[in-house]
């Protein structure tokens, strides 16, 4: 056994230990999130944030801990997935029926989907895109218009909206074949503003007033506007959308995983590393860039559709340039090309402003300062991207 192999073997945790680590980490995360969601006490929230800050400071000082946890999750993968799934399914039952906490979770999950969508571009392929908010809006408006004017059900509107947004995504990808970096960033900014302004001015999109009265989805005769009853437990109606958006997050994680492991993900990473070298390796740069725009728009439209049917009222102001910047911030703060990091970034940046309502006036200021501090102190994000590893352990 060579020295490196020996070192690796000694670093590999025993199965029992990794199982314990997985359970401890997942339960701790769930409990802390619950405390954070249900607490009204500013002191508790600040204490929780401080705890989290301390946690990341520890990871910063001792990266070995992060590696150990990641290794444990790799070892006990099935258990981790199973426990994670159970926690997500059981979570609404432990929220004391608080519809506000569920609402926060739904919005955070939708932003997680958006951030994962953008991550394909920004994280994997390093293509700046400030138009995710626009794709989100296109999805929301398409499905809402279909539902209001043609009575089309949510389940049919979902794929149609995604297809329409994807077409727009490819349309936006078209100029991306020629422009680069800041110039490309401006093209996407311009696209986002054009879409927002058009939504704001057309009469058939309701202008600045938006669209009202989007009907709630119905599944097997159960309207999503009605409370959910499971095993005699009565959950607020938000629980329907909680499970729907959780399913969407799961789908996004799965597709992120599959794409990352596929030739497509590898091609995107090659683009990020060096576009010219990628082209020399026979990678069709144009196609993969366009594909990144398409995938981003597709997932963003899913989130948009769920959002539209959830709040049943959308207006252009839900889909501004600032929304796109927020999504981009989530990806960067969370950690580019790291699925877990991006989701955490989305949760943090959705929940933090909501929970800081006590400082209501200083909220935006505080969040902006936090973002700047993050970029300065931990530029790689909460969790940095991990090196690909192939086969074996």
């Amino acid at each position: 056994m060579s020295a490196t192999e020996e070192l690796r073997a000694s670093a590999r945790p025993s199965p029992l230990r990794s199982l314990a680590t997985v359970i401890a980490v997942e339960l701790a995360a769930a409990v802390l999130l619950r405390l954070f969601l249900l607490s009204d006490d500013t002191a508790v929230i600040v204490a929780l944030l401080a705890l989290m800050g301390a946690g990341f400071a520890l990871l910063q000082i001792r990266p070995a801990i992060e590696d150990a946890i990641v290794a444990a999750f790799g070892e006990a993968r099935l258990a981790a997935l199973l426990l994670g799934g159970i926690i997500v399914l059981a979570y609404p039952f432990f929220l004391n029926g608080s519809s506000y906490a569920l609402h926060l979770l739904i919005i955070a999950q939708l932003y997680a989907v958006l951030a994962l969508a953008l991550n394909f571009q920004l994280g994997s392929a390093n293509i700046p895109n400030f138009a995710t908010g626009a794709s989100y809006g296109i999805g929301a408006y398409t499905s809402a218009l279909l539902a209001i004017h043609f009575g089309i059900s949510f389940w049919l509107a979902l794929p149609v909206a995604a297809l329409v947004a994807t077409v727009f995504g490819f349309l936006l990808g078209f100029p991306s074949m020629r422009t680069k970096e800041s110039y490309l960033a401006l093209v996407t900014i311009a696209f986002g503003i054009v879409i927002h302004q058009l939504l704001n001015n057309f009469s058939w999109t309701g202008g600045p007033n938006g669209l009202v009265g989007i009907p709630a989805p119905i599944l097997f005769g159960h309207s999503f506007a009605r409370p959910l009853e499971v095993f005699g437990h009565r959950l607020p109606s938000q629980a329907n959308f909680y499970y729907l958006s959780a399913a969407l997050v799961a789908l996004s994680i799965l597709s992120a995983r599959r794409l990352h492991d596929s030739r497509v993900g590898l091609a995107w990473n090659a683009l990020r590393a060096d576009e010219l070298a990628a082209r020399c390796q026979g990678i069709n740069v144009v196609w993969y860039k366009m594909l990144a725009f398409g995938v981003d728009a597709f997932l963003a439209a899913f989130a948009g559709t769920v959002y539209a049917f959830y709040v049943s009222y959308i207006s252009p102001d839900n889909f501004t340039f600032i929304v796109s910047v927020t999504i981009m911030t989530m990806v960067i703060v969370g950690g580019m090309d790291n699925t877990l990091g991006v989701i955490l970034g989305a949760f943090l940046l959705t929940l933090l402003p909501e929970k800081l309502r006590i400082f209501s006036d200083y909220r935006l200021l505080f969040v902006s300062v936090v973002v700047i501090l993050f970029l300065v102190l931990r530029p790689q994000g909460l969790f940095q991207q991990r090196a690909r590893h192939y086969g074996g352990k």
Binding site: F174, S182, V187, N200, F321, V376
Partner: protein, 305 residues
């Protein structure tokens, strides 16, 4: 000449001048630091607030008749303070992103812009309300038989003067030579005993002070100023600098005139044009970038292995 047409032409020139003053800052900063300073629009709009504060402090808000000098003092203070604010923001935040990927700096400066906006909103007295901004001059002048407001003439003249001054500084003074040297190669410039950080500070001062003049004119043109005007001004200035070709000062001016042109044209010819002007401006931006991917006067990027 048709007086309506003349009016539109004057309007075009005024808008073009205001946008150019802001766009020049973007281009200058990008050329020297290779950084997109997205909060430049917000920094520029700080100037009218400073000017209002000075007027408030000196005269309790009411300009005495014939006190032209007071207005000049207020504007001068505003320009200098805004220039110093640029240096401060660089020192506090932007310098930490010198070696970072471009997107990092972009997102950081977007957040920085939001900090500037929020600070005005929170800490300026009644900062969230729109504030009336005084007209700089009220008279009008006769040029070629057409009545033109003196303000328009002032805007265009001052802008031309500022652009000339900027070109003169960049190409005829030792400091300009140093700025160009740092823009060309930071490390070689250091070998020539130039302190890049000092040059960056000077560049930030110049860009922010010129932007401040743009912000003051913008406020005076609109007759009112609000804390979030900086977003629009910044986006348009940035667009003008980009379609002209980032780093090129001529490009920034041409880009501004082009954007102001389409802005005026749409408002005049398209029914309900005022609400569609942003659509047309940004469609133009997309079209220009599709045809000329690195802007009109930008250097084409050659990739070398």
């Amino acid at each position: 000449m048709d007086s309506l047409l003349a009016q539109h032409l004057v309007n075009w020139m005024v808008l073009g001048s205001i946008y150019a003053l802001v766009a020049l800052g973007f281009s200058l900063l990008f050329g020297v630091l290779n950084v997109i300073h997205f909060s430049h629009g917000d920094v520029s709009i700080v100037a009218p607030f400073v000017a209002l504060a000075v007027i408030q402090i000196l005269f309790a808000g009411v300009l005495p008749a014939g006190a032209g000098w007071a207005l000049v003092v207020a504007l001068g203070v505003a320009i200098v303070v805004t220039g110093l604010l640029g240096i401060l923001l660089d020192w506090l935040v932007i310098r930490r992103f010198r070696g970072a990927p471009a997107m990092m700096a972009l997102v950081a400066t977007v957040a920085l812009g939001s900090v500037v906006r929020e600070l005005i909103r929170m800490f300026y007295p009644q900062g969230s309300n729109p504030k009336p901004f005084p007209a700089l001059i009220r008279d009008s002048v006769q040029i070629g038989g057409v009545q033109i407001s003196a303000f328009s003439v002032l805007v265009v003249l001052v802008s031309v003067l500022m652009v000339t001054l900027l070109f003169w500084i960049m190409h005829r003074t030792p400091i300009g030579l140093r700025i160009r040297a740092v823009a060309e190669d930071r490390d070689i410039a250091r070998l020539m005993a130039i302190n890049p950080n000092r040059i960056f500070a000077v560049t930030f001062f110049l860009a922010s002070a010129v932007g401040a003049i743009g912000g003051l004119f913008f406020a005076s043109h609109a007759g009112v100023v609000r804390f979030d005007f900086g977003i629009q001004l910044g986006l348009i200035g940035f667009s003008a600098a980009v379609i002209g070709g980032l780093g090129s000062m001529h490009g920034a001016i041409i880009g501004s005139l082009l954007i102001a042109g389409i802005d005026t044209l749409v408002q005049v010819t398209v029914p309900d044009g005022a609400s569609y002007r942003m659509v047309f401006i940004f469609l133009l931006v997309i079209c220009v970038l599709v045809l000329k991917p690195s802007g009109m006067l930008g250097k084409p990027v050659f990739e070398k292995v």
